[in-house]
């Protein structure tokens, strides 16, 4: 009998896209090499196409009503569950982050991972509180109750920053979905692997299929169809450089899609400033209701 470990073939993970709750290769059949900080090959990621974007938006659209229809309490539970499942795979995330990032160390990677997990917990807590903080009863001159309620805009296209690989993605994604939006995420082009691993935890966290969809590939190919898609209601272009962002915003304007991008303060990913209930508000529409007062 041969002696164990050395003769064992390595079993490598295939990093696939996450569309409508399923892990899929691109409809185009393409992939691209992902290298680590030292230039070594880490894996081949899926190189998504515009048709994958289209399918992801369709999945997000389909899931949106049901997700927004859940109770705020339940959405909070599910976001907390994401944190739980990430916690249980913490080591895997640490390795993923460490391998991808220039000048990283185990301590920095561990910090980023912990911050990402805590961010889910933070937004989970807001799920049933932000409507009270951002909305409420308005004083009006007349025999009416007047109430303002923040409601999710619908489908949000999210271009994740290139680096770091995990924390910025979570920081932008959690406030989008906590209110009942669904998201189509373009993962970091340079280090997409942590995003795919995040998708695996989402799939195990009671997040309904289609609420988060993650596409990997080249920004140049993927941003235009996402920004131009009529069914995308809001765009977070935090990950776009200024030229790409301007072009995307111009496309978005043609279909009256709201465009959001992280401020300089919000880009201090590990800081308190990177998390805020106003980020939830950025992807909400305020509905105001007038109701006659009885006697």
């Amino acid at each position: 009998m041969s002696s164990g470990m050395s003769s064992r073939l390595s079993v490598n993970k295939t990093y696939k896209q996450f569309i409508g709750g399923a892990f899929e290769r691109s409809e185009s059949g393409r992939s691209y090499p992902v290298t680590g900080a030292g230039g070594e090959l880490l894996a081949h990621a899926v190189r998504g196409s515009r048709k994958d974007v289209r399918d992801a938006v369709a999945a997000a659209r389909l899931a949106q009503e049901g997700w927004a229809g859940r109770t705020a309490y339940n959405r909070g539970q599910i976001l907390y569950r994401v944190a739980e499942v990430m916690e249980s795979r913490r080591d895997e995330f640490c390795v993923e982050v460490l391998r991808a990032t220039d000048g990283s160390s185990e301590a920095i990677a561990a910090e980023e991972t912990a911050a990402a997990i805590d961010r889910w917990v933070w937004y989970a807590g807001w799920a049933d509180k932000f409507p009270t903080v951002l909305g409420g009863a308005n004083p009006v001159a007349g025999p009416y109750f007047n109430l303002s309620v923040p409601e999710p805009v619908g489908v949000v296209g999210l271009v994740a920053p290139d680096e770091p690989p995990l924390l910025p993605l979570v920081s932008r994604l959690a406030p989008v979905i906590v209110s009942g939006n669904t998201a189509v995420v373009l993962a970091s082009e340079r280090c997409p692997l942590a995003a795919v691993t995040l998708a695996e935890t989402l799939a195990l966290s009671d997040v309904p299929a289609g609420v988060v969809n993650i596409i990997t590939g080249h920004r140049d190919e993927l941003v235009p169809p996402l920004a131009g898609h009529v069914a995308v209601d809001s765009l977070d272009l935090t990950g776009c450089d200024s030229e790409q962002g301007t072009a995307a915003a111009r496309q978005a304007a043609a279909t009256i899609t709201r465009v959001v991008s992280a401020s300089t303060a919000e880009r201090q990913w590990a800081d308190e400033a990177a998390q805020s209930p106003y980020l939830i508000d950025a992807f909400c529409e305020t509905k105001t209701v007038w109701h006659p007062k009885g006697r």
């Binding site: 289209r54 938006v57 169809p225 131009g228 898609h229 009529v230 069914a231 496309q251 043609a254 279909t255």
Partner: protein, 312 residues
């Protein structure tokens, strides 16, 4: 003419209807070929033409118990001008309704190229008394139907009473007068491709101007393989008798992609001569929206939102 039918021969023995040969179907080969034709890529330049053709051959259908004159009016308006904002979109081929609503549709579509089709003959089961079914056919034609969709008597067909099934179609053809007769085989209930082939031949020989896959009332409806099977039957019929019978596919056709797969199947099997409203129809209710959506995508270069297209 109908000697082989007259004996009401058991299923296995009857390899001909009224002198027209019925060839057995290779089920595996048929499904493989259908899948192959559906995998064909269509270039963007051809897509526009294919979408317009899909609209021109469409029977816009509403067959609900809750159909009202208002609903039919709205459907007819859409049939004339599928996209109010874009006049380059052609009209559909016909509007398909229940007999009760034929007069409403006929009035709404007067002076338009859109035909009025009516289901009749005890749709969807086809098991009302024959007199009542024939009366329904005549009634629909008198009310203004240009085309009548009846159902094959599957009860007779599946129990081997081919002559009965044949005679009923022939009688319906007579009751139709000048209106076109489409015979619905309800392929999902026939059990095998051989049976579909046999039913196709029987309906064509009995006088059908069109053979149609499904009522849309059961879960199994038009599939690429059934479409191919029926198209091959039509090709056989044309080769053996010289008569060109039309094909109508219906039930479960919801996306533009499915529509152009069917266009490929029909074009490849029967030739482009069949890609006209006179010989090919797609019966559908929700297909039109998806076709308009894809058309808008080709025009604007951006993916569209389903909510921007009408609900019905």
């Amino acid at each position: 003419m109908t000697d082989l039918l007259a004996v009401d021969s058991p299923v296995g023995a009857a390899d001909a209807v009224a002198g027209v040969r019925i060839t057995p179907v290779d089920a595996v080969g048929l499904e493989q070929r259908a899948a192959l034709l559906c995998a064909r890529s269509i270039k963007a330049s051809s897509k526009g033409a294919a979408l317009d053709l899909a609209i021109r051959v469409m029977d816009l259908t509403t067959l609900e118990g809750a159909d009202t004159p208002g609903r039919v009016h709205a459907l007819c308006a859409r049939a004339r001008r599928p996209d109010a904002a874009d006049w380059s979109v052609p009209s559909v081929a016909a509007v398909c309704v229940y007999p009760e609503l034929v007069s409403v549709a006929a009035e709404a579509l007067a002076d338009s190229p859109v035909a009025v089709a009516s289901v009749a003959g005890g749709f969807p089961a086809g098991l009302a008394p024959l007199e009542a079914r024939l009366a329904e056919v005549s009634w629909a034609v008198a009310a203004g139907a240009d085309e009548v969709d009846i159902v094959l008597n599957r009860s007779a067909f599946l129990s081997g009473r081919y002559q009965r099934a044949y005679d009923e179609i022939a009688a319906a053809k007579q009751a139709c007068g000048s209106a076109h007769l489409k015979v619905i085989l309800e392929t999902g209930e026939l059990g095998s491709y051989d049976q579909i082939r046999r039913a196709s031949m029987l309906a064509m020989v009995a006088g059908a101007d069109f053979i149609k896959t499904s009522t849309g009332k059961i879960s199994t409806s038009a599939t690429p393989a059934t479409a191919l099977c029926m198209a091959e039957a039509i090709r056989d019929m044309a080769e053996q008798t010289g008569r060109a019978v039309g094909l109508k596919l219906a039930g479960g056709i919801r996306t533009a992609k499915q529509a152009w797969h069917y266009l490929v199947i029909v074009g490849e099997t029967l030739g482009s001569g069949w890609l006209t409203p006179e010989r090919f129809r797609l019966g559908a209710s929700s297909l039109l929206n998806d076709v308009l959506m894809q058309r808008a995508k080709l025009r604007d270069g951006r993916y569209q939102r389903r909510e921007d297209f009408s609900v019905d």
